[in-house]
Symmetry: C2
Subunit: 225 residues, 2 copies
DNA sequence: TCACAAAGTAACCGTTTAGTTACTGGCTTG
DNA sequence: CAAGCCAGTAACTAAACGGTTACTTTGTGA
C-alpha cells in the first residue's frame, strides 16, 4: 500500500498466471491511478494537487491518467465518488435494527467515529469539496443518489426510544446524525491546529478512547428525556 | 467591504485632508492587500489562491504585495495571524465571570456559534491550515502565544457549577470547548455537502436558530449531573 | 497470422504562475 | 530645495503546470 512506484511494471515478476506474466493490466493501472490521486488530492486539495505527482505515485505515465479519466477534474470526481461509495458500503455492514435504542445510537456513533479515524482522507476530501461549495458533489447524479441509510435506521431507533419513554419526543434524526458527525469529524480534521494551540496531542491513544466515550455520552445526553 | 477594485486610487478623490489628496497611503494599501488575500485564500485554499488575483482584488499591483509581505506564503501567514488576532480580540469582549454557570456556558456557546457564522473565512482558513497539518501555525511564535482566554473562563464556570452540584465532577474544560467548537464549526463548514446530500438548506433562518439552541442544549446536557 | 485496437511511453507545447527588474513619481528631511 | 528614500507601475522571466502528440508495444480475434 505504501510504495506505488513500481506498481504496474512489477506484475511481470509473477502475475496471477505464471505462463502469461501479463505486463499490461488496465484495471490495475486504473486502480493505482485512483489510489494515488486519492492520496494526492487528500494531502494537497484540488488546487495543490499535481497531475505529474499523481502519475509518479501511481508508477505510471501521465498519459494514462488522461486516458482513463479525461482530465484532472474528472479524476477528482472519480476519487470523490469512490470515497463516498466506500463509506456507504461500510455503513451497510452495520445493523442497528436488532439493538436496544441506546445501544443502537452508541453503535452508530462508534462506527462513524472509527470510520473517520481510519479514513482521514475521506474527511480531507469532504473539506476540499466544501471549500468549493460542493461543486462536484452537486454535479454528480451518481453521488446525489447515493444516500446514507443511517438516517432511516436512526429514525427507527429514535421512534423505538420514544415509544419506550427513553427519548425526548421532539428529536429530529438529522440533528442526531449531525451531532455525531460533527463531534467525530471536527476532532480529527482539526487535530493539527488544536494539538498545537492546546499543547496536547489529541491523537494519543488515551485521548482517542476518551473522545469516543464523550461522543457517545454527549449524543445520548442530548436526546434523553 | 465588497468592491476593492478602486481602493487605493480612489483616495485621490478626497482624502482625509482636502488640501493634500494623498495619492499614497501605505497603511491603506497594506490593509487592502491583506483583506483581498483573506478572501482569496479563504475561497481557494493556499494551492488555489492566485497572487495576481489578490493584487487585482486589492486594486493594487503585484509588486506591492511582494513589497509589503515578502512572498505568497508570508502573506498567507499574515492573513492567518490577523484572523486569529481578530477572534481573540472578539473573545475578550465576552465576560462570563458575572454569569451563573449554566448561563455562562450558554453564552460562550452562543458567542462561538455566532462568530463562526459571521466569519466563515476564519473557518475556511482553519480548514486550509489543518490540510497542511498546521504548518504555518506551528511556524509562528506569535500565533502559538496567542491563547484563547476561554479555557480559563470555562474552568472557572465549571468549578462554580461543580461546587453548586449542577455539573459532573469529571468534566474537562477542553472537552467542553471542543464540543462547542465542533458543533458550531462542522455545521457551517460542511453546509454545502450536507445541504446537498440531505436536500435541506441548513442556512435557512429557522434551521440556524434551531441549531444554536441545539448546540447550547447538547453542551449543557453533556456536563449536567 | 496478421491486422487492428488498446495499453503504454516520452518528449513536447502553450499557458499560467510566482516572483523580478527597471523604471516613474511623490513625500520628507537635512 | 535638492537629495534620497519610499510608494507605486508595467513589462518581463524562468519554471511549473495541465494537457497533447507522435510513437512503440502487446494482446486478440477475423
Amino acid at each position: 500500500m505504501e510504495k506505488m512506484d513500481e506498481g504496474v511494471r512489477s506484475r511481470s515478476r509473477g502475475g496471477r498466471r505464471a505462463e502469461r506474466p501479463q505486463q499490461r493490466d488496465p484495471e490495475r493501472t486504473r486502480a493505482s491511478i485512483l489510489a494515488a490521486a486519492t492520496r494526492e488530492f487528500a494531502e494537497n486539495g484540488i488546487g495543490g494537487a499535481r497531475v505529474d505527482a499523481i502519475a509518479e505515485r501511481a508508477g505510471t505515465n501521465k498519459r494514462m491518467l488522461y486516458h482513463y479519466f479525461g482530465d484532472k477534474e474528472q479524476l477528482y470526481l472519480a476519487v470523490l465518488e469512490e470515497a463516498y461509495v466506500d463509506i456507504r458500503t461500510a455503513e451497510k455492514s452495520v445493523n442497528l435494527s436488532g439493538l436496544a435504542p441506546e445501544q443502537g445510537i452508541a453503535e452508530l456513533a462508534r462506527f462513524t467515529w472509527r470510520y473517520f479515524l481510519q479514513h482521514p482522507e475521506f474527511l480531507s476530501l469532504l473539506g476540499t469539496e466544501n471549500l468549493h461549495r460542493a461543486r462536484w458533489l452537486r454535479q454528480s447524479t451518481r453521488l446525489k443518489e447515493l444516500h446514507s441509510h443511517f438516517i432511516g435506521e436512526l429514525s427507527d431507533l429514535l421512534e423505538r426510544g420514544k415509544a419506550k419513554g427513553l427519548f425526548r419526543t421532539d428529536i429530529d434524526p438529522l440533528n442526531v446524525y449531525l451531532t455525531i458527525a460533527a463531534l467525530s469529524c471536527f476532532y480529527i480534521s482539526h487535530q493539527y491546529t488544536l494539538s498545537t494551540i492546546f499543547g496536547r496531542d489529541l491523537m494519543e491513544d488515551a485521548n482517542i478512547v476518551a473522545w469516543e466515550r464523550h461522543i457517545i455520552e454527549a449524543t445520548l445526553a442530548s436526546i434523553r428525556r
